[in-house]
Amino acid sequence: MSKPVKQHLIDPEICIRCYTCEAACSVQAIEHDGVNVVVNFDKCNFCMDCIAPCPTGSIDAWRVVNAPYSLADQYGWRELPAQTAFADTASEADATIEALDADVALLLAEAHAGAGGKAKAPRSATKPTINLYTLTKPAEATVQGNYRLTADGADNDVRHIILDLGGQPFPVLEGQSIGVIPPGVDADGKPYLPRLYSVSSPRDGERPNFNNLSLTVKREQRGVCSNYICDLKKGDKVRLVGPFGATFLMPNDPKARLLMICTGTGSAPFRAFTMRRQRNGADEGASMTLVFGARTPNSLPYFGPLNKVPDTVLKKHLVFSRAEGRPKLYVQDKLREEQEAIAELLSDPNAYIYVCGLRAMEKGVEEALGGIAEGMGLQWRSLRDAMREEGRYHIETY
């Protein structure tokens, strides 16, 4: 049996036959007769140029199929056929599918497990694109820059990597991840599988409208991919898959309040969130709070730029566990210290909580939040579950 493929289709029950998509398509993959508008599988390159101009949303239909539907099939439809079930994939109609590949989906499920149930996207989040590029058809990016974020003397080497996607469409939302394929083979002689990294730039790019994105990568001892990335030079080519992730996303609602808790490179998505809000002109009623833990100021990624973000946009609590002459402080300690403000956020139906970083932080953070909730006379578990169901509680740890 051939491997299932993702096919772009148009829902004939929703389409109004305005043919705007046909005009937008640069590879003439879309055509119509007197009845239907259809997509030629052999021509469609997933560039997504047709998605935004479609007034109805009928264009945003996808099926995972063993054999693509032909044009004749599509011309004959009165309605879109149902997604046939696959053992290890599912229809993207289910908005919580984070990735179509089983192994990537599993990785993300593990990363999100700390939220205590199936993750859901914020209701006003933009619909993400997933699995545009795959192992058999990866994107090729060019390294535009590789900057060390931590001080030379710091005990960790965290890098800010900027990748240029050139002419390739790579729609990615704040909070989504991409996979980097390290070159070479493993001990068994098999090509390395991609490693996931959270994108640290907002949807319109590291530089607006330059079709680039950034990653925040920490060099791990003996880490195949992290060393590969941290050693990249300007001009090097990198193979990417993705994007992945459909739940750890920010609400578009400008009035939504965000509490972002992170350690180390867990700051990547929050850098993206913050930049998105700043570029959009943060709303007066909105607020973002960041609780960011590191060992020392030297080893806190983006320490400099972060301090330049005005407090009106982002309230910053930087906590250090090894700062000289100061008591050890962890993110959970800070949460307790800020108990009143956190309690107020927990009771606001328009507040969203995000936790990102090492798995070890999960327990402490949850205990702190739990304690604050109990202090308000609320049962933490049910509060957490309700928030998660509403797409307002997100954990991504590794």
Binding site: I14, R17, D49, S124, N209, D253, P254
Partner: protein, 483 residues
């Protein structure tokens, strides 16, 4: 150098036409701008002005950037001047200049004709916002309210588009015409809008949906023919407007479709099989199908009048001059001059309706209208699928082109919706079956009660199948300002 794809925000007016280095036009537009904002603020009730509406705004004219969704207060919507990217070495597609380089400036001999066309097009844009100004108050859902406002802000932007052309290419005359576009008002005694259909108030939401389906579709066809213009800036403007116009078609088609759907569902739930059992159907709080057919008859025939005379030397002149092309001119395979060609046109000959061959050049309006009718028939077919799918025996139909006409060969003639000439007595007896009466209008009006809870819909209309920007069913499309 100007970036012609991304919108620049370096002036008050977002644009991709390099306004910041075009001081004369920038000054003229900045002078015009306050009048526009006043016009907008006078028009839309204050409560809605202060509400946050989930709108799409173009940040660039390429497919990636032209539909960014976010909450915005309507007076802060970034109305701007956006032209589709210039096609390199574009040629005049039709008429006596066919094959010559497209004009980047207005040729002197066509100046008056072109200005007239742009003014007429421009006049319809604000007119429709004026006609629809009271609809927000009776919106059947926040979803529909958002769609109404999206249509309104985009009609506003289309006005900007036409005003830009007037100010950029038509000097002092153009500036005067631009001011007049804000001076005329829909339905005004002293200074009405130029076309009759744009002086009627849109009294209810079914009228709004019919209007966006039929009347805006006329607008779409006019834009299609202007998109073929040899005057390149006009062509580029209209091409970008067409992308927005598709949303208006969508609001109309799905609005009528959802109304029809709800009626059929309610009939089924109540066990009513006869669509003509009007009293019982109306008692369910939905609009009976025969009344929907009557609304369709009215709006379709009014829109046919907007195409003008079937045989017209003005239209021939505009085509011949290369100012206006045919629908999809670039896909047609003929000499694009229509020297000896003919086109079948419906005429009254000796009291009979006959199809006669007219010179194709003078039948340009007729041809565009036929393309329009084909386009409009598609959606009617899809409405019928909804009716059929719900097991109701009823078929919506486009009436004959001679029915209820005020302009053209059938103007004032008594022709029934099936296309038969009838006598005064029969006309008088049957007109109530063919066109909505005051009582029909009053009934529809009685259903127009606001329904503003997120995810809730008034009882006469079904929820949409898909949300805007893929939003879930109970998404709050408008965050209403609470005074």
């Amino acid at each position: 150098m100007t970036d012609l794809v991304n919108v620049s925000y370096d002036t008050l007016i977002p644009n991709n036409v390099g306004l910041s280095s075009d001081k004369r036009v920038l000054k003229a537009l900045e002078k015009w701008h306050p009048g526009y904002i006043n016009w907008w603020n006078d028009l839309i009730p204050e409560r809605f002005q202060k509400s946050m509406v989930y709108l799409r705004t173009a940040v660039s004219v390429d497919p990636k950037g032209w539909a960014k969704f976010d909450y915005v207060k309507m007076p802060e919507y970034r109305w701007g001047i956006l032209l589709a990217p210039q096609v390199e070495d574009r040629r005049i597609p039709c008429g006596e200049h066919v094959g010559e380089k497209a004009w980047q400036e207005v040729p002197g001999e066509y100046r008056a004709l072109m200005r007239r066309l742009i003014v007429i097009q421009g006049d319809t844009e604000p007119a429709s916002v004026e006609q629809q100004r009271f609809l927000g108050k009776t919106a059947p859902s926040l979803y529909d309210m958002r769609n109404l406002f999206q249509v309104n802000v985009e009609e506003g932007r289309h006005l900007w588009a036409m005003v830009y052309l007037l100010q950029k290419y038509f000097g002092a005359d153009g500036r005067e015409e631009a001011d007049d576009l804000l001076r005329r008002r829909s339905g005004s005694e002293e200074a009405p809008r130029m076309l009759g259909a744009f002086n009627e108030e849109t009294p209810d939401w079914l009228s709004f949906f019919m209007f966006t389906y039929f009347t805006d579709r006329d607008g779409k066809m006019q834009l299609e023919s202007l998109a073929q213009s040899g005057f390149d800036p006009l062509s580029r403007t209209c091409r970008f407007m067409l992308t927005e116009e598709a949303h208006h078609m969508f609001v109309g088609e799905t609005g009528v479709g959802r109304t029809v759907q709800r009626t059929c569902e309610a009939m089924k739930e109540a066990g009513i099989d006869d669509p003509y059992d009007i009293e019982r159907v109306r008692a369910l709080g939905v609009i009976d199908l025969p009344t929907i057919q009557k609304k369709l008859n009215l709006h379709y025939t009014l829109s046919l009048d907007l195409f003008g005379q079937e045989v017209s030397t003005n239209a021939a002149n505009a085509f011949n001059a290369g100012i206006k092309g045919r629908y999809m001119e670039h896909r047609l395979e003929d000499d694009h001059k229509l020297g000896g060609a003919t086109y079948p046109v419906c005429q009254l000959v000796d009291g009979q309706i006959r199809i006669v061959d007219a010179p194709a050049l003078t039948a340009i309006n007729m041809r565009l209208r036929d393309d329009y009718t084909r386009d409009a028939a598609g959606g009617v077919g899809r409405w019928n699928k909804i009716v059929d799918g719900l097991g109701v025996k009823f078929e919506l139909k486009l009436p004959h082109e001679g029915f209820n006409r005020k302009i053209g060969v059938f103007a004032g003639k008594l022709i029934n919706p099936e296309g038969k000439i009838v006598h005064g007595k029969e006309w008088d007896e049957r007109i109530g079956d063919w066109l909505p009466s005051k009582a029909d209008g009053d009934f529809i009006q009685s259903l127009m009660k606001p329904c503003w809870e997120p995810g809730k819909f008034a009882g006469w209309i079904a929820p949409p199948r898909v949300g805007i920007d893929n939003k879930p069913g109970d998404f709050e499309y408008v965050k209403l300002h609470m005074a």
